[in-house]
């Protein structure tokens, strides 16, 4: 049974539909990431789960309780905020103890639990400090501690790493992952950062303009996107999208260039139909396959690999990974890819399989 069920939830602010018939099932103990660009409704959805935001219609069930009408305090969830949201006038110890105090726990049990959490997160030396005397990373650790101390059914994370610098973000990301593996609690995590989503999630829900675009494991979203939005949103650098026309032999004819064999698709495409081919940069560095020639603008060296930015003869810009050599500005290089790597989308961006 699912630990959290979101069923047909809708919400609008005035004329703006922020959530449009969203349904998500979250299995017990899993790590689900709500991923999308800013303004896609992911934070609104998380606040709705927490009970901080009333919804217009739909049902939210946590465990076996319908919590749709319950206030936040009765939902037994814990939340970590992007802004840390520590209580500025309380010390770290008081911050972590606050949820226990609100539940009327006696002082001794509370102290023990707080000490346990402090040990787990290695924030023991900070316990008597005030939040503003801490660095961003320490604050977020305290905020995670405050969520942990209650041992709730459900953890909610609202972009918890967005205010941190890159190095800390990587470190804390790994820590959250470790935490999830050790306590095995259900976690729902909101982010716009697809790296976070790919590394943390058991299941990713991609949202755009209040609607779910696709739900699936990180790998399935990466390999088998349902539409051009998901294909473009997941993966860095972005997937390349090339305009093509279906030729009379069923192959796709790229603008003025190569023919790509897409006859393996289940769908028969009629002659002359306009489609878009999506090819990831890392699939453009093969030994053989369809060839494209790219005139190079910029090469980014990342140490183990390089990314080449340039334009095809058709003028379409392309990013390609390059493992062997690092071509410079103005050079023309040959890209090769397997036609089975190409993902085909129709004019509306829906995937053709």
């Amino acid at each position: 049974m699912a630990q959290l069920s979101i069923r047909s939830v809708s919400k609008s602010y005035g004329a703006v539909q922020v959530l449009d018939d969203v349904s998500v099932e979250v299995e017990e103990g899993s790590f689900v990431v709500l991923l999308g660009p800013s303004g896609c409704g992911k934070s609104t959805l998380l606040h709705a789960i927490a009970g901080l935001n009333p919804i217009d219609s739909g049902t939210i069930v946590i465990g076996d309780r319908n919590v749709t009408k319950l206030p936040a305090r009765d939902r037994d969830v814990a939340m970590v905020f992007q802004s840390y949201a520590l209580y500025p006038t309380m010390t770290v110890a008081q911050n972590i103890a606050f949820p226990l105090k609100m539940r009327g726990l006696d002082r001794r049990t509370s102290d023990e639990k707080v000490a346990g959490v402090a040990r787990l997160l290695q924030i023991e030396p900070l316990m008597s400090r005030l939040p503003r005397e801490l660095s961003g990373g320490q604050r977020q650790r305290v905020a995670i501690g405050r969520a942990l101390v209650r041992d709730p059914r459900l953890f909610l994370f609202d972009e918890p790493l967005s205010n941190l610098d890159a190095a800390l973000r990587t470190e804390l990301r790994a820590e959250i992952k470790r935490l999830h593996q050790s306590i095995r609690r259900t976690m729902v995590y909101v982010t716009h950062d697809q790296t976070e989503a790919l590394t943390l999630a058991d299941k990713i829900v991609v949202l755009k303009a209040g609607k779910i675009e696709q739900t699936g494991t990180p790998l399935s979203l990466y390999d088998d996107p349902d539409n051009a939005f998901v294909a473009g949103f997941i993966g860095t650098p972005r997937m390349n999208f090339l305009k093509a026309t279906v030729a009379d032999d069923g192959k796709a004819l790229l603008a003025g260039e190569a023919r790509v064999d897409i006859t393996h698709l289940a769908t028969r495409l009629e002659n002359g139909r306009a489609v878009t081919l999506g090819i990831r940069p890392e699939h453009l560095d093969e030994k053989d396959g369809v060839t494209l020639s790219l005139s190079v603008d910029v090469t980014e060296h990342l140490g183990s690999t390089s990314y080449v930015h340039g334009a095809l003869a058709s003028g379409e810009s392309v990013v390609a990974e390059r493992r062997e050599d690092q071509p410079g500005f103005g050079e023309t290089i040959t890209l090769r890819f397997q036609s089975t790597r190409a993902r085909v989308f129709d004019g509306e961006g829906s995937r053709i399989r």
Binding site: A85, L86, T89
Partner: protein
């Protein structure tokens, strides 16, 4: 600390003379006032004053009218500050939601602050008129007997207090409202998720965050209340039977009715010392050094 001017900083030629002038002016004036308060200068006996040491200060201690005025000042300041802060905070917490006329309400709140004390005093004098005033009319509607607001020595001070509260609570509201709006809302939501009821969110999280703003507003209101003069002058002139004579007002009477300049300056200095001690105590309570909450 790079903003502290060093000896080589040429901008010091601009601000140092200003500091020197201000220091000389305030120190010289204070010393001059103290010097006069040690004499028996009176306009009734001009030219015959002599040095009398601390006699004026000893006279103050043995002056029942002065001591009563001091007590009244303490009472008025405490009540005005506490009631205005409590009432203002209550209104702010009540207004802390989005409603259609919010901007209008906020503008209306400015009206009592902008009005000159003379107009406020006169208006309240009319309202408190025992025969024709609105206050007694309203009381009569609920069946309460007439009150001689400004004519009864037991009530007059509280009548002035009501006018002061009417005029200055909006000031508290505006400042606390600004503090509330700049306070982060995420900790409030965090508290709700952590299991706090609304009153607990307010008590444990919101009020401590507003503490600084409240303390500053309380200090400003306390200082203003100690110095209050205009409302008393317009509404009661210290009467009836001296029942609304504060120390500030008494100093004015001594100087400009009795022309006893030296004694009035001694009263002023005692009021200043008293105010400073009281406010420093208040300040150290409201802004404790340790923890700096």
């Amino acid at each position: 600390m790079s903003t502290v001017a060093t000896a080589s900083d040429p901008t010091r030629h601009f601000f140092q003379p200003v500091i020197v002038c201000l220091t000389v002016a305030s120190v010289a004036l204070t010393l001059f006032v103290i010097w006069i308060s040690l004499h028996d200068l009176s306009l009734m006996r001009a030219g015959r004053e002599k040095f009398i040491g601390l006699d004026n200060y000893l006279r103050f201690l043995g002056d029942p009218r002065a001591m009563a005025a001091l007590w009244r000042t303490v009472l008025f300041t405490t009540l005005a500050t506490v009631i205005e802060i409590a009432l203002g905070l209550a209104v702010v917490l009540f207004l802390d939601r989005d409603f259609a006329m919010k901007r209008l309400v906020r503008t209306l709140l400015l009206v009592p602050i902008i009005m000159t004390p003379v107009v406020v005093g006169l208006t309240w004098r009319f309202l408190f008129d025992p025969a024709t005033g609105m206050a007694n009319y309203l009381l009569s509607l609920v069946g309460i007997a007439q009150v001689d607001w400004l004519g009864s020595p037991r009530i007059a001070l509280f009548a002035v207090l009501i006018a002061d509260i009417w005029q200055w609570t909006p000031f508290v509201i505006l400042l606390v409202m600004a503090a509330l709006e700049s306070a982060p809302t995420d900790p409030l939501n965090a508290a709700r998720v952590d299991g706090a009821r609304e009153w607990q969110v307010t008590w444990y999280v919101l009020l401590p965050m507003l503490r600084r703003a409240l303390a500053i507003v309380a200090l400003i209101r306390a200082i203003d209340s100690i110095k209050a003069f205009d409302l008393f002058y317009i509404m009661t002139r210290g009467g009836p039977a001296l029942s609304t004579e504060t120390l500030n007002y008494y100093g004015y009477i001594v100087a400009f009715t009795n022309f006893d300049i030296s004694y009035s300056l001694a009263v002023a200095i005692i009021l200043t010392i008293f105010t400073n001690v009281a406010l420093l105590t208040m300040y150290s309570v409201l802004f404790p050094k340790t923890g700096d909450r």
